[in-house]
Amino acid sequence: MSETIDLRGVGCPLNFVKAKLALEPLTAGEELTVLLDDGEPVRNVPRSLADEGNAVLALGKAAEGHFELRVRKGGAS
């Protein structure tokens, strides 16, 4: 059971900053679920987290219209 951070209603680039902060206490290899709004957030945050060396494992649209991102923290484990 991975941790979840709800970033619905949080705009760019603050949502990316908050996702990074949520990943910080995790050790490499641990997973985080991030809830993101459709539109700019889902186009920016997953790719930006990948560019920071994390692995995007899954990204899918939920029934309510937002996106659920599962990301694994990168770096030496």
Binding site: V56, L59, G60, K61, F67, L69
Partner: protein, 287 residues
Amino acid sequence: MAVDEATLKGGGFIKLREPEIFAVRIKIPVGDATAEQLRAISRIADDFGDGTVHLTVRQCLEVRGVRAESFDAVHAALAAAGLGTGACGPRVRVPVSCPGSTFCKRGLNDTRALAAALDASLYGRGDLLPHKFKIGVTGCSASCAKPQENDVGFQGAVRPVFDELEGACIACGVCADACPTGAITLDAEGRPHIDLALCDHDGRCVQACPTRAIRAEAAGWRVFLGGCFGKNPRLGVLAETFIDDHEALRIADSAVDAYRRLGVKGERLRDTMDRVGHDHFIEEVLG
């Protein structure tokens, strides 16, 4: 005062309605001036002009109400501030550029670097052309610097490819969502198909794909030739795609040369191209 009218015009002095009164066009490459340069222009407007500074549509500034006898003094004051006058008449004008990748999140290319290089290599070579010659450099298909309206226009562009060489697709569909032209459709498994005929090469799918399953197969500048507004406006013809800065400079230089050789006095590049044939002219330019 021994400055003739041709020298005045070549030196950025534009005749206004009132006799003996000019506007001095000041070149602001890529539209960026330091605060100190703006202070120097303010002083020139106070000392030699009517105290106003006009913003032109092509990212230059003009000081109005200047007399011809101030020609040397104004040029000296501009040079002291690291500035110069902008071209008027049948010459290569100051290139216009958008903020590009330096400042704009949509910008794909460094427009300011290319515009500055074009300015350095083409501006004010002193040779007269058949008519004015304008250059526009823009960072993406949004075309904020309107490259298609210029005699030569450059537009930052990427050609996306879905090949999963750099990462596997997770079927999130964000690429299709990010594409503004509907060029990406998803199959039953949620994997993208890119229709390049619909693609406007803005690179948003490449920027959005979280696994790099869509990447840039080619990137660089698209080149438009013979665009022209004013009377009888027409957009430029796409002549080349995905070239680098070096090739962009060569093509711009070659286009100016071909225009000088093939153009007839008074016609814009668009008219020259219509007369000699678009394919023939593009062949002359690309070599």
